[in-house]
Amino acid sequence: MPMDKEISEKRKRQCLKLVEISKDIVRQAFDQFRKEELGITWTGGKDSSLTLWIIRQVCQEKGILLPKTMIIGEGDEFEEIDQFVEKMRKEWSVPLEVCRNEDVLKAANYTLNALIKVKDLNERNRAELQRIGFEAEEFLFEAESYAGNHLMKTVVFNEFLHRHKIKGIFQGLRWDEHPARFDDPYFEHKEGSDLSPEHTRIRPILHFTEKDLWDTYAAFQIPYCVLYKKGYRSLGAKTTSLISVEGFPAWKQDLENTEERAGRRQDKEKAMKEMRRLGYM
């Protein structure tokens, strides 16, 4: 649906420049790796969807199909995201693989908050839990738990890389999303280990701020999931993502002065300001 946001010609040129920088990163990736060795991670969210759109543009220039694309089925998705993903998969001919940790889902009987016994999991999953230092015998099937995240996302991601012998994987990360990311490089090589194959992570949209991202969506009429129009600013698991400002589209919220991921957890910045004021820190 068209975004009700006015973008001046000047701003459109700035967004185009940002897109060009991203496309250069993508072109470098295609120079460095064969198309079969590349993969794309996609969540249906705003960052990975923009990344996918940019990669698609480069592919169209080169006259090739999109590389293999993975989406993680963590068992707690918004229906609106599923619908958006299905729509874009068809429209953009995305070679999409929905990757799930079936073993964990089965042990949880496909039910959120079910209790999973570690001994009911397969050897791979048990080895993964041991590797991260998980020492309990059971855990609740929750999206935002350490063990849950690791098995449902990290393990699934590593298996995808291994199965398709992926050497370079595209991710939709941005510098301004998280303080720990602020100096992440465009290309980051990861050494192999027993459970994770050697690969390079490629992040074409690092330099986009949240505002840049939405202005680019508006400038080029790029499709996005309707949840952002309803007021979500950041989308994770359904049970732990909260609307930031009800009824207020993401691009109209105070992007610069409020936290992007606030709707997913307690508002930390606000808590810190309050603690400083009270002199506790």
């Binding site: 991260i132 309990a136 990311r181 307690q266």
Partner: protein
């Protein structure tokens, strides 16, 4: 399997200077250092070292987080025994000849009915009385050996002060630390000079100020890891600043026009710098008590140490002002989980030290539960350089999880932290300030 990168050492070894606070150069050429002790509250002492670094005198009996030791004209040593909220005087053969605990019939009260609360500095005045900085009472006071208050300054003017010292002109120079300013006060309690007025660019938590013979003032600007010399007109004439974050505590000017500086949670040493910024003498004999582990150990708290702490974890009470303890939820399944119980301002930590690699990103996670936390409870991952120097100016800069307050049932708390380029060591900490309880379980930390 427990893998230690370095084993640490016994706590409280006499002579092991863990945290230099007070420092002065004695007429005999030796240096007197007040050592605040280690993070678990052990090892506080007053140490006299000769120019070659030999320890020629030290006193440690019963001291907890002592902030100052000053040599008196009579040869005795006056000590502010901070966490014990007392002032004591020791003879050279370590006999205690005065203790504020004996004031007012053994109650420790001063003549106005108050009790010392976090005394951090004491100087001998011309008339043999003492000028005492009583931090948590936001005042400095002149007292005699019986605890009679002869003069005081504070009230709304001072905010957690440090290092009140008497000047030759009869005035008092005080670091109004939380107010980010230095005050010179006359006997009529009038502020006759000041420097700094709030913004941290001017002064950021100054904890010491001394007047030089040339009329200038040298200020120890702690969180800006520097000392500055300012003229009476307030112009900065000279500065010494380290690149790394070394929160200097106080400075002492020697008669050779060099400056002795106590480096507290920076590099655990006393340095003597000259006007060119060269370090012309240094004393460091710090041996780290806590072991450093290769990876997070006992994060599921299945093992309890003999001291009631979770095994391989340390209860850090240095900043807890005498309060706080580890508590266990014995009903928790499958095994009891630990927590912290606290009841005052100040800070309490349960922590483990880990070796880290620069540039690596870690995902830290745990589950947290809080009960009536009035201040804040959270997880921190604090990073240190190879000299065990802090890399952050203020606690708000340290990578952390969510900040919890009030009462919360078990919540997953996950956060990422990237190891800074100069860091070799990290401390994973459960932190609480003000009153309340916080429990923790299922801690994990892995490279991502």
């Amino acid at each position: 399997m427990v893998e230690m990168i370095s084993p640490g050492c016994q706590r409280g070894i006499p002579g092991n200077v863990e945290m230099p606070l007070g420092v002065e150069r004695l007429p005999n050429g030796n240096t007197l250092i007040a050592d605040g002790g280690d993070e678990a509250g052990f090892g506080s002492e007053i140490v006299e070292v000769d120019p070659l670094g030999n320890i020629v005198w030290n006193y440690h009996k019963g001291l907890r987080f002592a902030h100052s030791g000053r040599r008196l004209r009579n040869g005795n040593t006056l000590i502010t025994d901070t966490t014990n909220n007392r002032l004591v005087e020791l003879t050279p053969d370590k006999k205690m000849v005065m203790s504020s605990d004996h004031w007012s019939g053994g109650t420790g009260e001063l003549s106005d009915g108050s009790h010392l609360h976090y005394p951090n500095e004491a100087f001998e005045m011309e008339d043999g009385t003492f000028l005492l900085t009583d931090r948590n009472n936001d005042r400095c006071i002149q007292v005699n050996r019986e605890g009679k208050i002869l003069w005081s300054f504070g009230g709304k003017e001072l905010h957690r002060p440090h290092n009140a010292n008497p000047l030759q002109n009869g005035n008092i120079l005080i670091s109004d630390s939380d107010g980010n300013r230095i005050l010179e006060v006359n006997r009529r309690q009038e502020v006759v000079w000041s420097y700094g007025d709030g913004p941290t660019q001017t002064l950021w938590w100054p904890r010491g100020a001394i007047r030089l013979e040339n009329g200038n003032t040298v200020i120890t600007d702690s969180k800006s890891h520097r000392i500055i010399e300012v003229s009476p007109a307030g112009k900065v004439l000279w500065r010494f600043q380290t690149e790394h974050v070394d929160k200097f505590y106080i400075t002492h000017a020697t008669k050779e026009d060099t400056f002795l500086i106590a480096c507290t949670d920076g590099h655990h040493q006393v340095i003597e710098v000259d006007r060119a910024g060269s370090i012309v003498w240094l004393f460091r004999n710090y041996r780290r008590p806590a072991p450093i582990y290769a990876r997070l150990t006992n994060g599921f708290f299945k093992e309890i140490g003999d001291n009631g702490w979770p095994k391989h974890w340390v209860l850090a009470t240095r900043l807890s002002e005498g309060g706080g303890s580890v508590v266990w939820d014995q009903d928790h399944k499958p095994n009891p989980c630990p927590g912290l119980e606290y009841d005052r301002s100040g800070a309490l930590f349960l922590q483990q030290s880990l070796a880290v690699t620069p540039g690596v990103t870690y995902l830290v996670g745990a589950e947290i539960r809080t009960i009536n936390v009035k201040g804040t409870a959270c997880l921190h991952l604090d990073f240190f350089d190879s000299h065990e120097g802090s890399l952050y100016h203020a606690i708000t800069e340290i990578p952390s999880g969510n900040l919890f307050t009030g009462t919360n049932d078990w919540i997953h708390d996950l956060f990422e932290a990237k190891v800074p380029s100069r860091a070799t060591l990290a401390e994973l900490r459960l932190y609480i300030n003000d009153s309340g309880k916080v429990f923790i379980r299922n801690v994990m930390m892995n490279r991502i």
